[in-house]
């Protein structure tokens, strides 16, 4: 797609003209993230996080490919090969800490990216497909992160693998055979470690492919913006390059400072000490917890403590945990308000902040042992989580009266837009934009 006023790629050098005729790759890049992509001029810093997520995917693939040259996916030596990387491989500690903390950074960035989308209504028409592909990326990331955590073959690796694959055993009839099939045995062992390694290497490339689709789908309607008002004219946009390459460059710098601080000065803050104990099938850790980025969903899983309508509590927990993520696929049709941005949605905005707090509480509870009162707090927080997406959003979007909105992005930025004049007939112009079908 492009807006009619988008800059055209005009190579001046004969070599580039020749290349443009044979394989217009530079043109493709120019139109994707160069001067040929017009972007709303009013994007705030929350719009930096898509680029940061892409950057982290590249960091993870690069460090991961090199780590795989030194790591041995065999249950007998996996733990020691990880320590070999830490001790004997040149800069191995930097690669491994960079990769382990890189996973956390990737999730931090993606969580901010998701919540930005939630607040500013980026999931709404005409951008539903971008959102759906984003949820697919997030699911793939969770699978990849989980399998990556198993590879060092420490205590949390082993017991995490056992608990998470054990979730499948809650499925009636086929559950236990399914778990054994997934693991290649009755408990995590060499077969499981090998296949997790293989998939952990494969999935990031599938993520990269879906990221390309995500960006492709983005370029059809173009980027959203904090007002949620669609681009109307050239004065609403600036070319991606140099305006947003410059802004993203600055954002990347700030992010890298944070990332580097974690890698060099606090590389084990986000990990669990038990994973420095080699896997031992005969000794269960006191508290089995996954990595922090799964904690909100782990809290939901553990919130179901009683059987309900003949459904075993464990199965309910598994159903709810998967539903908590899968419901994201339906979000564009659950929230039917024609107004995208939370800025002009007074009621939605309040519930959004409650949701953000709720997810923090769920995350906090998910990292704590399954004791009272943490379980009761998780139950209340889980109730809000489901109620927010499945009950509150559909109702709010039906009853809410949005606040007045500017005519255009230009008016939002400059305070006036010359095109925003009353039509001569005196008829009332559309307050915002036509309702999506």
């Amino acid at each position: 797609m492009s807006f009619p006023w988008a800059n055209q790629y005009r190579p001046s050098h004969p070599l580039m003209r020749w290349l443009d005729e044979k394989l217009p790759l530079p043109r493709f890049v120019y139109n994707a993230v160069g001067g040929g992509y017009p972007v709303p001029r009013n994007l705030n810093y929350f719009w930096n996080f898509g680029v940061l997520a892409g950057f982290m995917l590249v960091v993870q693939i690069l460090t991961g490919v090199i780590l795989a040259m030194h790591y041995a996916p065999n249950a007998l030596v996996a733990f020691d090969s990880t320590e070999h990387i830490m001790r004997d491989v040149n800069w191995g500690w930097l690669l491994r800490y960079g990769h382990a903390n890189g996973a956390s950074m990737f999730f931090i960035v993606v969580y901010i990216h998701i919540f930005r989308g939630l607040f500013f209504g980026s999931y709404k028409a005409p951008r539903e497909m971008i959102w759906l592909l984003g949820v697919v990326i997030y699911l793939l990331m969770m699978a990849t992160g989980f399998m990556g955590y198993v590879l060092p073959w420490g205590q949390m690796s082993f017991w995490g693998a056992k608990v998470i694959t054990g979730l499948f055993s809650a499925i009636p009839l086929v559950g236990t055979p399914l778990q054994e099939w997934l693991l290649g045995g009755f408990a995590p062992d060499n077969a499981a470690l090998n296949r997790f390694f293989s998939l952990h290497f494969l999935l990031p490339f599938i993520i990269a492919a879906v990221v390309i689709l995500h960006i492709w789908a983005l370029h059809i309607p173009g980027s959203s913006n904090p007002t949620g008002i669609e681009v109307k004219s050239e004065s609403d946009t600036v070319p991606f390059h140099p305006y947003y390459t410059a802004k993203d460059g600055f954002g990347l710098g700030v992010f890298l400072i944070f990332f580097a601080f974690m890698v060099f000065f606090a590389p084990n803050w986000l990990g669990h000490p038990d994973n420095y104990i080699p896997a031992n099938p005969l000794s269960t850790p006191a508290h089995i917890v996954p990595e922090w980025y799964y904690w909100p969903f782990y809290a939901i899983l553990r919130a179901f403590t009683s059987d309900f309508l003949f459904i075993p509590a464990k199965l309910m927990g598994v159903l709810a945990m998967f539903s908590a993520i899968l419901l994201m696929f339906f979000l564009p049709w659950l929230d039917t308000s024609p107004v995208r941005s939370g800025r002009y949605r007074p009621l939605f905005r309040k519930f959004f902040w409650v949701l953000l707090l709720d997810v923090f509480i769920l995350g906090w509870m998910g990292g704590l042992p399954a004791e009272e009162p943490y379980v009761m707090i998780s139950q209340i927080a889980s109730i809000y989580y489901f109620a927010h997406f499945l009950i509150i959003l559909p109702i709010v979007s039906a009853i809410e009266r949005p606040e007045p909105m500017p005519f255009s992005i230009t008016e939002a930025v400059l305070g006036k837009d010359d095109k925003a004049v009353l039509p001569p007939s005196g008829s009332v112009p559309p307050a915002a934009e036509p309702l999506p079908a």
Partner: protein, 287 residues
């Protein structure tokens, strides 16, 4: 349609969660939180400051050498250090001859070149620290059914690892009459948790009783070459410092590398900020 199904699904999950909550709350109201001795009497590690702490932390080689001496003379009788090689001891400030001499002082598994039979030989600098027991069964048999854990990664494998090691080593107490900070007496509150024979009471250990007998029993148990007085607490601190090094020999290098990287990134970010402002000069956006 999506909304109707959504609301129904939402009500289903909310109802199931409310049911779990009510059942849980009633149980909790009736039974309360079960009090356990571990919960009330397990202590968090005492604060410990080492030269390797913090963002400027470097190893104190003198202390590492003292800690190594404690490991060699006390801990190594039962605990392995399998991820550390004698050659690594260079980093503690020993020269090549000293490393060779230290290695030769340990017997490591070998093979008789004439018969092919397993035997032992003096260690070389390239060898790793040998294990004190042939296997876990032998280790259990000698230690009241507990395997002494490998110490290579101990300070990273426990919360607040170095402080935990020091607290544990100096934390053996007489269980009879033991009171916590609130003045509660353990055996009065929990008469059933009396330390079983063969175990030793130590409130810094997660379940309060461990199989390891107090390893550091008297001041002067080792004689330090540098003249430091070998009190029990000093030995515990030194071995904790040594185990920080064994857990991550590259720790000091990590800190040293981090500063130039951070300073470079800060400079880069400042420049990129001005570049960003420059590009947007005269264009009103959201910046």
């Amino acid at each position: 349609m999506v909304r109707i199904f959504g609301i129904l699904a939402g009500l289903f999950f909310v109802a199931a969660l409310l049911w779990s909550f009510v059942v849980g709350a009633i149980t909790f109201a009736q039974e309360g939180k079960p009090a356990t001795a571990e919960h009330e009497f397990h202590k968090h590690p005492r604060e410990l400051h080492l030269a390797s702490d913090g963002v400027f932390g470097k190893f104190d080689k003198q202390q590492l050498q003292r800690g190594f001496q404690v490991y060699k003379e006390v801990c190594s009788a039962c605990h392995s250090l399998r991820l550390v090689a004698f050659r690594d001891l260079h980093q503690l400030g020993y020269n090549e001859a000293e490393v060779k001499a230290i290695a030769a002082g340990f017997q490591v598994p070998g093979v008789d070149p004439n018969t092919g039979e397993a035997n032992t030989r003096p260690g070389l600098a390239t060898d790793y620290f040998p294990k004190p027991y042939a296997n876990d069964i032998a280790a259990r048999a000698a230690n009241n059914n507990a395997v002494p854990p490998d110490l290579s990664l101990m300070t990273k494998a426990r919360h607040d690892g170095p402080a935990y090691v020091r607290s544990l080593l100096t934390g053996y107490r007489n269980q009879v009459g033991y009171k916590n900070e609130e003045g509660k007496e353990l055996l009065e509150e929990f008469p059933d948790v009396k330390t079983p024979p063969g175990l030793h009471f130590n409130p810094w250990f997660p379940n309060l009783n461990l199989a390891m007998a107090p390893p550091l029993t008297a001041d002067g148990q080792v004689t330090y070459g540098d003249g430091t007085k070998a009190t029990v607490d000093q030995m515990a601190k030194d071995v904790a410092a040594f185990l920080v090094w064994t857990a991550e020999p590259k720790l000091a290098k990590r800190h040293q590398t981090g500063w130039p990287v951070l300073l470079f990134l800060i400079a880069l970010t400042v420049l990129s900020y001005y570049a960003y402002q420059n590009v947007w000069r005269g264009v009103k956006g959201n910046h």
